[in-house]
Each structure stands twice: as structure tokens, then as C-alpha cells.
């Protein structure tokens, strides 16, 4: 007779094995290695919570300390490969296969290990894609997660950095898997219940907060005048004409400059209330001056940001907060919001080719995708209209009858023609292709595909790719804003002039912008301290960003 409850029984077995090292649900830190050894089995599919920001660091360390003779061939399914331990487990032979999304700080090491064959790569995903697969074909057997506090029943408070936790627990706990949470402390009553206790099987008290990476803090002091010029172009050349109210920003300095120009330059253009009111965005400190000046109505966040907690708690009209007052972030929901409910994504990239494909990989670094491809893509399932979406759709396809025409999300790449260390942003051939050859991948890791990109903004001007009618025009439009890079110098001057006459390329002067006005004095805050002051002292910048 077929057994229909093998997973349930397997979980029961794991709980029984683990309970020998626990009091109720609570496992002591000392017994953690023996506990993990008891509940894990070779070949398990494991989600070791590594998010964009928060990290189950205690559990990661314990997992890396296990005996590979007993626990091996684990298949890791986690969005972020961030801590050294996340890769140590592959080096030691505890884990073998990896499906992930993002590997910022470990991008160089992960590339070496992939080349060296120490990691068997499933795929590099976007966040939503990996979360989706948690429910279809990558459901974890064991989830090792992180929260701020728990009660003895296992009710978890995840604090401002909820991030991926509800998604991971949902997939694991409701499909026969085991959920183990590290918490900073065990309390009698949690401030709010982010994860109900019956979905959590064991708790470990770490007695210290989990590690959080401050990823979204951009020091206004480092914003250049070229970046300010690109920001002015974006505001006057895109935000204003399309009437962008719902949007997501990337994390680069160009978009930080836009945030800091809203209360100054944007105000001068009379745009308050007309643009940038609704956001899918992490709590960027650089948005504080615009929030304080009354620009922003609401923000939903993927995660939190170090130092922003008190400010967020004091601004519940703006942010999503729990009954306890602190931020409730949620990566899966916010990614969905950014994909379907925003009219614009704007972000920077490392390389753009002649078709508009962009990528952040270089041959020695595999940073993964994170969420940018979800934000930076046109959702084919979208059905609700908006001014910006309809206008962009019309520009792309003026011939179709309006009621049958799809709108378009604006996907904007913004940056200087020469990026960090004077490396050209525009290239004939992406490094991603070389990487795909080297690793024998079916797909080159493209962050944003060319057919999703609608505009490219550089200090030379804006290229509107929606208005290009063929591949030739597109290529020349891209060359036409590529400045003095080889790609830019390879332009067909006559054709670029024609594109400019048609408004496909617009230079600062075409928009009535004087590049000499791009001055740091226009920034609403020019230092981290200015941001702190703008927040009324509520923003508490981490030590590494201070210059006082």
C-alpha cells in the first residue's frame, strides 16, 4: 500500500531526534552542533537564511562546523550567499549543490569555487524566481532562519528585517520540513508575531543580534557633480514628462542623487505631489529630506536599513509598521509590488552593450541577480493602466489601436559613461558572455535584458529606446549617449543627429539644463550628518558612515 505521509513522518523523526538536545523547543547554544547533526540528513535540501541583509550567522557557523563524514551533499537553496560560512560548507564537503540569487560580498570567492568545481550550480535566480521555486521544485527539507526574539512556543518576532523569513517558513513548514530559528533572545511575550509558533519547531538563543549588512546607505558626501547632472536629466527628462508617481530606485549614487534633488531641484520644477509619491524601496537614508519635505506618501520595503529604525517608527504614515511600531518588511511582497504596481525602475549597472543588455558580472565576480531583474522588467501580466504606463506603451507602438495596446513599464539605466576606476560602462561585448562560456552556462547572466530597457541616462543625455524603430536606431541611440567610450566614439554622427532631431536622444541643453548648474550645493543633504539632522536626530548612522 502506498504511504502518503512519509514527509510528515520524516519530520516527526527529525523533531524526535532534535528534542534530545532541547528543552521544549529551546536548544542551547552548546548543544547546537549535536542538534544539527541529529536533525540533518545527507542530501537534505536546506535553506540557511541568508537574505539580502540579515544573516542566520550563528546557525551558519554551526553548520560549517559539522562533520562532513556524517552530514554531506546538502543542497543549499538560499537567496543570499553573503557570509564566508555560506561557502565554507562547500569547501568542507558538507554541501554540494547551490541554488541562489545574490552573492555580493562573496562574489569573487563564489566565482573561484564555481570555476574550481567545488560547487555544483543549480541556477542563479532572481528573488521572486527562487521564492517561486521554493513552492514548486526547490522546497526545503530544513530551514535555518533568523529572528529577533521568540517566546517558548516558537512565536517569532523578526523585527524590521523580516525580509525572506515568512516565505521560507511557509514553504518549509507546510510541506513537511523542519524550521529552526536563531533568535537574539527568548522572551515571555514577543512584541508582535511575525511567524506563528506552530510553524517553528526549534529555537536557539544566540544572545546577540543577527548580523545585518547596511546595503542601502549612500554617503551624500561621495556624490559627484556628474551624478547630479544625470539625476537632473532623469527628473526633468523622465519623471516630469511621464508623471512617475510609483517607482523603485536602485541602490547606486545616481539614484541617491535623484532622492536628494527632489526637495531642491524637483521643488523648483514644481513637481512635489506630482512625482515620486509611492515607492517600493528599502528605507534609504537619502530619501529622508524628501520625506521631511512632504514629497512621499508611502513606502513598502524589502528589508530595513541599519540605523533607520527610530526614524521609521516615528513615521508610520510613510512606512508599513506593526502593532509594536517597528517596520514590517517583506521581500516577496515588495518584489511583487515593484514588479506589478510600479511604473518605473531606475538603477545603475556595470556594463551595457549595443542592444541595451546590461550586466553586473565581470569575469572574476559573480554577484548574482538579487531583485533588480524583477524590478527592471516589463510585467506581461499587468492589466491596470496608469498615465506613465500608457504613454510609454504608445511611444513603443503608436500604430496599434489604443484599447488593444499594452502599456510599458519604464526601465531606466542611469550612470556615467565611465564608471568606477574610469572603466567604460558601454561595451561591444558583455563580460557575462565570457563567463557563460567559461562555466558552460546555457544562459549568460544578464541583469536587465535589452528589450526591457526603455531609457538610458548618462551625463551626455537621455536615449529613449521606446522610440527606436529598428535595431540600427537602437544601437545608434545607445552609442549617442555613450560619451567618449569606444562605443560612443564609434557612433554614426549623422544618424545620431537625426535621432536627436526626433527627440530619441536628448542632451542637457535640449531639456533646458545647464550642466554648470549641476553643483553639490543643490543636494538637500551633502553628508551623512546632514541626513541625521534632517531626520531630527532620529536616524542613527552606523559608525562606518560617520565623519564626526
Amino acid at each position: 500500500m502506498t504511504a502518503w505521509d512519509t514527509q510528515k513522518k520524516a519530520r516527526y523523526g527529525r523533531i524526535e531526534a532534535g528534542s534530545r538536545f532541547a528543552e521544549g523547543k529551546v536548544v542551547s547554544k552548546d548543544s547546537l552542533p549535536r542538534f544539527l547533526d541529529a536533525v540533518l540528513k545527507p542530501g537534505d535540501r536546506v535553506c540557511l537564511e541568508g537574505d539580502n541583509q540579515k544573516q542566520a550567522d550563528l546557525l551558519a557557523g554551526a553548520l560549517a562546523g559539522l562533520d562532513p563524514a556524517r552530514i554531506h551533499d546538502l543542497h543549499m537553496v538560499q537567496s543570499g550567499v553573503v557570509l564566508p560560512e555560506h561557502l565554507d560548507i562547500f569547501e568542507k564537503g558538507i554541501a554540494r549543490k547551490l541554488d541562489y540569487s545574490y552573492s555580493g560580498p562573496q562574489s569573487a570567492r563564489i566565482a573561484r569555487m564555481l570555476f574550481g568545481g567545488q560547487i555544483e550550480l543549480g541556477a542563479v535566480h532572481t528573488y521572486l524566481e527562487l521564492f517561486a521555486r521554493y513552492f514548486i521544485d526547490l522546497t526545503p527539507n530544513v530551514a535555518l532562519i533568523a529572528a529577533v526574539s521568540a517566546d517558548r512556543d516558537g512565536n517569532l518576532y523578526t523585527g524590521p528585517n523580516t525580509e525572506d523569513t515568512p516565505t521560507v517558513v511557509e514553504a518549509t513548514s507546510f510541506k513537511g520540513g523542519l524550521v529552526v530559528a536563531q533568535v537574539a533572545e527568548i522572551v515571555d511575550k514577543v512584541p508582535r508575531v511575525d511567524i506563528p509558533g506552530d510553524q517553528v519547531h526549534f529555537l536557539v538563543e544566540a544572545k546577540k543580534p543577527f548580523y545585518v549588512e547596511p546595503l542601502f546607505t549612500r554617503d551624500p558626501g561621495a556624490i559627484t557633480e556628474t551624478q547630479i547632472l544625470t539625476a537632473m536629466l532623469a527628473i526633468k527628462g523622465l519623471y516630469q514628462p511621464y508623471g512617475i508617481t510609483r517607482l523603485n530606485h536602485g541602490i547606486g549614487f545616481n539614484t541617491a542623487a535623484i532622492e536628494l534633488l527632489l526637495p531642491t531641484y524637483g521643488e523648483k520644477l514644481g513637481l512635489r505631489g506630482k512625482i515620486c509619491t509611492h515607492w517600493a524601496l528599502n528605507p534609504h537614508p537619502t530619501l529622508i529630506p524628501a520625506i521631511e519635505a512632504g514629497w512621499v506618501e508611502q513606502i513598502h520595503s524589502f528589508g530595513s536599513e541599519v540605523g533607520m529604525d527610530r526614524y521609521i517608527e516615528a513615521r508610520p504614515d510613510i512606512y508599513f509598521t506593526g502593532a509594536d511600531g517597528s517596520l514590517r518588511s517583506h521581500r516577496a511582497f515588495c518584489q511583487t509590488a515593484g514588479l506589478y504596481a510600479c511604473d518605473m525602475f531606475i538603477g545603475s549597472t556595470l556594463q551595457i552593450d549595443l542592444s541595451g543588455h546590461s550586466s553586473t558580472v565581470t569575469t572574476s565576480r559573480i554577484a548574482g541577480f538579487g531583485g533588480a531583474p524583477n524590478m527592471g522588467s516589463d510585467p506581461r501580466g499587468r492589466r491596470h493602466p496608469s498615465e506613465a504606463w500608457l504613454k510609454a506603451g504608445e511611444e513603443a507602438d503608436p500604430a496599434s489601436p489604443a484599447p488593444l495596446r499594452r502599456g510599458r513599464k519604464l526601465v531606466v539605466q542611469i550612470g556615467e559613461t565611465f564608471g568606477e576606476k574610469n572603466v567604460p560602462t558601454f561595451v561591444e561585448r558583455l563580460d557575462a558572455l565570457e563567463l557563460a562560456d567559461k562555466l558552460k552556462l546555457d544562459l549568460a547572466p544578464i541583469m536587465v535584458y535589452g528589450d526591457d530597457v526603455t531609457h538610458i541616462v548618462t551625463e551626455e543625455g537621455i536615449a529613449n529606446l521606446l522610440l527606436c524603430r529598428d535595431a540600427d536606431e537602437r544601437e545608434q541611440a545607445i552609442r549617442g549617449v555613450a560619451g567618449y567610450t569606444d562605443v560612443g566614439r564609434g557612433r554614426d554622427r549623422k544618424m545620431v543627429e537625426k535621432l536627436r532631431e526626433r527627440g530619441i536622444i536628448r542632451h542637457p541643453e535640449d531639456l533646458g539644463i545647464d550642466p554648470l548648474d549641476a553643483d553639490r550645493r543643490m543636494l538637500a543633504a551633502r553628508s551623512i550628518k546632514d541626513l541625521m539632522l534632517a531626520s531630527g536626530g532620529l536616524y542613527d548612522p552606523p559608525s562606518r558612515f560617520r565623519n564626526w
Binding site: 550645493r521 562606518r544 560617520r546 564626526w548
Partner: protein
């Protein structure tokens, strides 16, 4: 209010000097560029990162030098150094006080020998000027801070003005970390870097004379005050100096955290000092700090 930290060398001079009084010597139009940088395929700047000239400050004639921290970190090279040396020599001939607007990481590595010699020449000229009772006032509040040879030159000035953002030391945080490890000094812990080298600490331990807001008008007022302070440097000053340094070493020598030094000075709630606004900081620090003196 306009930020000194944010301003360029030329913007600082414009804000500091009386309107339209500045006259530049060896300006960019003379293209007196570094003879060394081209060898390294590095870009040159027509003023070699320092603006020198004469101006009036509150009606009084002054000679001014302003380093541009955004060109090679304001570092001293051959031409850069020679312009300042020449200015200091002129100060003695003209018996005219000097303002040095520091913004420097020290000597330019690409022309290290010439840069080091320039530092020595400049120090010598300052000492000679002060022996003639000519004030040499240093102003520190730029992005690059005042490090390396810049720190040594600052130590020779008759008066030093510093803001919270200003940093003053000899060996920079990155160099210490490179040589001694992050455990010795974590250069990425910016709050620590500013606690140790920043304006507030320098002011509290008597390493700078006047503490001002990061504001060009505040620097101007302090520069005017600086010109009226005692400039002489003689054997008695040096003897006093030696005593003060011995005292400082005895009192703070074993401490590794600036907050401990501040506590020993009797500053209330040392942990809040970094966050204090200028006025509150001066109210707390003015009478508790080590007396300002030449030992910097």
C-alpha cells in the same frame, strides 16, 4: 551657512578674503605643472593643486595658500611645495602674515623626494617667519584632512583653526591599518577615525587653538582672530613646549580611546561628545580642554 568641507580651494579663498581682494601668484594660466606626473601617465593640474596669492582680510594684507584636496588628495609635490615655500619667503620680505588652508594627505608618492624636501623647506620658512614674529595661521576642515607632512607643517603654525570634520595627524588611518593591522586601527570605522584624528579631539587635547563650525564665515572670523594671536617662537617657548609634552604623555600616554582622554579632562558624558553641535561642544570643552599650545 556654506560648508568649508564642501568648498574647493578657490571657493574657500573667495569666502575667506575681502571681496575682490585676492590676487593670485603663478595662476593656472602659467601652467606651472608637475614635471613628474606625466612619467606616470597621470593627469596634471595647471595650478598643481595649490592656489597662492595675496589678499586682504578685514582690511589687513595677508598672503594666502589653499590646497585643493580634490587633486591628488591635496598632496605636496615639487611645484606645489615650491609655491608655498616661495609664499612664506615673501611673507618675511613683506612682513605680511600668512594663512594656509590645509587640505592634504601629505607628500605625493610619485614625487616623494621633491615632496619631502618641500615639507622640510616649508617648515624651515615657517619657523623663520615666526622668529620674525609673523603669524602663520593654519585652517583645517577639508575633505583630505591634514596628514603626513601637512601635519608636520601644521604643527609649526602660530595658530590652528579646525572644524569638526577637519582631521589632523601625521600617519593616516589607512597607513596605520596597512602596517599594523585592523586590530591596531580600523580605518573603516569612521567614527573611530574622527574620534582620534578629528577636530573635536584635537581641540580638546590642545592640538588646535580655535574650534569652529563647518562654515566659511566661521573660518573667516577665526582667521581674523588667529592673525591677532601671539606668533613668536623662541627658546623659552620651546622649553615650555617640552614640559607640556611630557605632561601630556604622562597624563594620557596609556590611554587608547579618545573618550577616556575626554573623561580624564573632566568632560561630562564623553560618549555624547561626537554628537554635540558646535555651541554645546564649546560650552562643555572650552574650559576643560588642555590649554592650546605649540605641542601638537
Amino acid at each position: 551657512m556654506s560648508s568649508w568641507y564642501e568648498a574647493s580651494a578657490r571657493q574657500r579663498i573667495d569666502a575667506l578674503a575681502d571681496p575682490d581682494s585676492f590676487e593670485e601668484f603663478i595662476g593656472p594660466e602659467e601652467r606651472e605643472v608637475s614635471p613628474h606626473l606625466a612619467l606616470f601617465d597621470l593627469p596634471e593640474q595647471f595650478d598643481d593643486g595649490i592656489v597662492v596669492g595675496r589678499a586682504r582680510l578685514s582690511g589687513q594684507p595677508v598672503l594666502v595658500a589653499a590646497q585643493e584636496g580634490r587633486f591628488m588628495g591635496g598632496a605636496f609635490g615639487e611645484v606645489h611645495g615650491a609655491k608655498l615655500t616661495g609664499l612664506l619667503r615673501a611673507a618675511r620680505t613683506l612682513r605680511c602674515p600668512v594663512l594656509i588652508l590645509f587640505d592634504t594627505g601629505g607628500v605625493r608618492l610619485q614625487e616623494a623626494n621633491a615632496g619631502e624636501m618641500a615639507i622640510a623647506e616649508i617648515m624651515r620658512e615657517i619657523v623663520l617667519a615666526r622668529a620674525d614674529d609673523i603669524p602663520v595661521v593654519g585652517l583645517i576642515g577639508g575633505r583630505a584632512g591634514c596628514f603626513g607632512g601637512g601635519g608636520l607643517i601644521a604643527g609649526c603654525c602660530s595658530t590652528l583653526v579646525i572644524s569638526e570634520h577637519g582631521r589632523l595627524s601625521v600617519t593616516g588611518p589607512e597607513v596605520i591599518e596597512t602596517n599594523r593591522g585592523a586590530d591596531e586601527f580600523d580605518s573603516k570605522d569612521r567614527a573611530l577615525v574622527w574620534r582620534v584624528t578629528g577636530g573635536k579631539h584635537r581641540y580638546l587635547i590642545g592640538g588646535a587653538d580655535l574650534f569652529v563650525e563647518d562654515d566659511v564665515a566661521a573660518f573667516r572670523r577665526a582667521a581674523i582672530e588667529g592673525l591677532s594671536r601671539r606668533a613668536a617662537l623662541d627658546i623659552l617657548t620651546l622649553a615650555d613646549e617640552q614640559k607640556r609634552l611630557e605632561h601630556r604623555l604622562k597624563r594620557f600616554g596609556a590611554m587608547t580611546e579618545p573618550r577616556d582622554v575626554w573623561a580624564a579632562l573632566g568632560v561630562l558624558r564623553p560618549e555624547t561628545v561626537s554628537g554635540l553641535a558646535t555651541e554645546a561642544f564649546l560650552a562643555e570643552g572650552l574650559h576643560k580642554r588642555e590649554n592650546a599650545h605649540d605641542a601638537r
